[in-house]
């Protein structure tokens, strides 16, 4: 049996039947990382000691009959989520040697389940990017085609799962950062409803949008992790008391909205064929397909970039060379700030801090930040209207499959356009899942399933039905 190919469900069965131990499982994944990650660069650090210690504890728990479905399961963690005592860099030089003083709430929850943490995965610096090329340390490659990007910003997490270096992973998303790499690498990725999962211990980027979500090999596995992550946390005032209940909704009679704006010009023809084909399959299984319009779609990406960068400019003000990580000595306090930030931040971070500072600055606030916030209201209204008519929305995650490394790094705007089809649902705080449904040549294509607030149960139920076909 090849232990690294197992899903959470299969690994759990093997562990409880004593076919192998959690230590065996952890070692198999650690060996795989040693063997192939030099070509993929999915990990920034491998926490071997922690993993083996957690695996031993998991084996004891399994022996005592106290195992849960996640006990002993090897998991990779995006390196913007804090694990106490481990380095957390956010793929930035400014945090290169930063050791996390506490566990993120999601990490605490996974530890309570007895999960095994293999290491920290690569990302675009501070999760700002769509390709994982903005990491200050290394460029992660797409395991399906080494000349291509894995998507971003959770590219390391998606690549680790796709290449069987981890059974599952945590990523984070502000706009597209779980769904896009899931689509490009051919794994399942779930971006929860804003407020479903605590953000405590997730390094902040755009606080009104950030969420932690799972990347997995199956829809069932995404559900297992999601159910553990959710709920009210007193350390995050935007987290919600959320009880997940399995949904028995089926494709028969389900109303699926297909937004015509998401198939506008610019979509790759082969991607469109694959997505239309999935929609047809759902229709053949009894779903009712409804042509819908989300008329404010054309504003979503622009509004997103103003709001997210504005929030980022405030969130990243804390990196000043005093409290964390890199500090460059200067003659006075101001020069310590200026030099630490100028040396510590990469080009994309500076660009976004500049854009956000500009949007919030006197004279431009009304025309940019305020205007973007007003536009978000229109975008939310579109979805409110849509969900009066339909149960779920189907669309592509991205207009194209994975692009080549270096293809978009020179032109920031062309990179931003990769997120055009996830912007609307991100701004509206809606949950969305990427399900692998086909390939263009060897490159995976993800179907995006968007649901109404706190209806992850419906998304997961329907994704599981589609996964079987």
């Amino acid at each position: 049996m090849e232990l690294t190919k197992l899903t959470i469900k299969q690994a759990h069965e093997g562990l409880t039947k004593k076919e192998f131990s959690s230590v065996d499982l952890a070692k198999a994944h650690l060996d795989k990382i040693k063997k192939i990650d030099k070509d993929l660069n999915a990990f920034l650090s491998v926490t071997e000691e922690l993993a083996l210690q957690q695996a031993q504890e998991a084996d004891k728990r399994i022996k005592d009959g106290k195992a849960t479905e996640l006990t002993g399961i090897p998991c990779a963690i995006k390196d913007n989520i804090l694990i106490a005592g481990q380095k957390c860099t956010a793929a930035s030089k400014i945090l290169e040697n930063y050791v996390a003083p506490y566990d993120a709430t999601v990490i605490q929850k996974l530890k309570e389940q007895g999960i095994v943490m293999l290491g920290k995965t690569n990302l675009d610096e501070f999760a700002m990017g769509s390709s994982t090329e903005n990491s200050a340390f290394k460029i992660t490659k797409n395991p399906r085609d080494l000349e291509r990007v894995p998507g971003g910003s959770s590219g390391g997490s998606a690549a680790a799962v796709a290449a069987n270096m981890a059974c599952c992973a945590l990523g984070s998303e502000t706009n597209g950062s779980v769904r896009l790499p899931a689509s490009f690498c051919g794994v399942v990725g779930l971006k929860p409803t804003y407020g479903a999962v605590s953000r405590y211990g997730l390094i902040a980027f755009g606080s009104s949008l950030d969420q932690v979500g799972p990347l997995t090999k199956s829809v069932y596995d995404a559900k297992v992790i999601f159910k553990i992550l959710i709920g009210r946390d007193e350390m995050d005032a935007t987290s919600t008391d959320y009880k997940f209940e399995d949904s028995d909704v089926s494709l028969k009679g389900l109303k699926i909205g297909v937004p015509r704006e998401y198939f506008a010009k610019g979509i790759n023809k082969d991607v469109e064929i694959i997505i239309r084909n999935s929609i047809k399959k759902a229709e053949d299984a009894g779903a009712k397909i409804v042509d819908i319009s989300l008329p404010s779609t054309e504003y979503a990406l622009a509004a997103y970039y103003i709001v997210a960068t504005s929030e980022a400019s405030a969130n990243l003000a804390r990196f000043d060379g005093i409290k964390y990580g890199l500090s460059v000595d200067g003659e006075d306090l101001l020069s310590v700030y200026l030099q630490s930030r100028s040396k510590g931040f990469g080009a994309e971070i500076k660009r976004r801090i500049m854009l956000g500072t500009f949007s919030l600055s006197s004279g431009y606030y009304d025309a940019y930040y305020k205007k973007a916030q007003e536009t978000i209201r229109l975008i939310k209204d579109d979805f409110v209207n849509a969900f009066e008519k339909v149960d779920l929305i189907f669309a592509p995650v991205c207009p194209t499959p994975a692009f080549k490394i270096g293809e978009k790094t020179k032109d920031p705007l062309s990179m931003y356009l990769s997120d055009v089809l996830t912007s609307g649902s991100s701004l509206a705080g809606l949950p969305g899942l990427s399900l692998p449904v086909g390939k263009v040549d060897n490159l995976p294509v993800g179907l995006q399933i968007i649901g109404n607030h706190f209806q992850e149960n419906k998304i997961l139920a329907i994704a599981a039905h589609l996964e079987k076909n």
Partner: protein
């Protein structure tokens, strides 16, 4: 086109020190991005009715706030440990007077 002076002014507000080369590139990139963002000007934002409670669900609920009370925490020493420059358990900064 965003001027060089504007870029310098924003950089100052953002506490960033940019090289001449970075300023030039920033001028070009910000101008391109802001040209794209100009699409927002065509958004027909008119007076909208207030959001209903169900529409607001994804927004933070102020009744959700925990009580503001002091609790023991063991984090202080770990947080100071992660600081680049420290003395006797405190952050050390340059004099500002």
């Amino acid at each position: 086109m965003i001027s060089k002076e504007e870029v310098k002014h924003i950089a100052k507000l953002a506490r960033l020190e940019l090289t001449e080369e970075e300023i030039k590139k920033m001028q070009k990139d910000l101008t391109e991005i802001l040209n794209y963002v100009d699409v927002l000007k065509t958004a027909g934002v008119k007076q909208r009715p207030a959001l209903t409670k169900s529409q607001r669900r994804a927004l933070p609920d102020s009744s959700n706030l925990r009580k503001d009370e002091a609790k023991p925490s063991n984090l202080a020493s770990e947080i100071v440990t992660a600081t680049p420059d420290k003395k006797d358990g405190f952050f050390k900064v340059k004099p500002i007077l």
